[in-house]
Amino acid sequence: MTGRRIGLIQNSKFLLVRSSMTADLNSYLFVGAVLFVCGVVCMATKRNGIGVLMGVELVLNGANVNFVAFSRYTDLGLDGQVFSLFVIVLAAAEAAVALAIALNFYNNHLTIDVDRANKLKG
């Protein structure tokens, strides 16, 4: 019980200490987290297929921010940047494919509402 409490206190300390933003690892990571969470929430709430796609982009960007931050503030080196480059490239490819799918969907359903794509409903 004690250990758990300590953990919770430590976690809450990180949350509470954030009074000012400095360009350190944690700040980047926080930005990445915000991007990631926003992307996820976007995916979860948008009924528009394009919106969902945008959420995906946000998620990928969040990841990218993290990669770059690690590259900058740890001894990881260039790997982080290289990975974020790959992510960007793949995100582009994904966007292209996803858009193609969305177009197909639109062609078939005359809408882009993803809630209509419930053929997999159990």
Binding site: T22, C42, K46, I50, Q81, E94
Partner: protein, 193 residues
């Protein structure tokens, strides 16, 4: 607060707020707008983190390419001038709550990890190569198989080789995706017509 911190704060806020705006925007066009803001700010953050090339790539590919694609998508699928498919308020509230909770979890996890790998590196703030800010050439070299950022004297097992092969794979992958996307998106008769 030095300049870097100021700039970071500004762009970080822009990024975050843009992303949040994307979430809460109701029309696709606005979402796209806010997304541009967010992604652009992210590119700025990349520049701040000494990742020049990545930042450039971000601007070029994302803001330039992907968003154009998105906008095309919006235009191609929008039946009205401004496509609006409303999300119910309850969903938004619930999504926000879950999102906040998720943020707490993610951030707590991130903070709970000591990201600095070795005790020796613990004192160092960053990789020396990255710390110099000149990363363009090393990235190019790393794509060609050479890793100037790595300490060759250290244990060979931890060394990462260059990214020549992944690079080639990605290029082929892009080609495949292009063809595939083109195939998928080709004009077809609509169902029922």
């Amino acid at each position: 607060m030095n300049g870097e911190s100021f700039l970071f704060t500004v762009f970080a806020l822009a990024t975050c707020l843009g992303a949040i705006a994307v979430v809460f925007s109701q029309t696709v066009v606005r979402m796209a707008f806010w997304l541009v803001i967010s992604l652009g700010s992210t590119a700025a953050l990349f520049f701040l983190a000494n990742a020049d090339f990545v930042g450039a790539a971000q601007l070029l590919i994302y803001v330039g390419g992907t968003l154009v694609l998105l906008v095309f998508g919006v235009m191609l699928t929008a039946s009205g001038p401004y496509l609006k498919i409303a999300t119910s308020p309850g969903e938004i509230v619930m999504g926000s709550c879950v999102g906040l909770l998720f943020l707490v979890v993610v951030y707590a996890s991130l903070n709970g990890v000591n990201w600095r790998k070795s005790p020796a590196a613990a004192t160092e703030n960053s990789n020396p190569v990255v710390a110099t800010g000149k990363t363009l050439r090393p990235i190019g070299l790393s794509f060609l198989g050479s890793r100037p950022d790595q300490d060759l004297t250290s244990d060979g097992d931890t060394l990462t080789p260059g990214y020549l092969l992944p690079f080639e794979i990605v290029s082929v992958h892009l080609l495949v995706v292009l063809i595939g996307a083109a195939y998928l998106a080709r004009a077809k008769r609509r169902a029922g017509e």
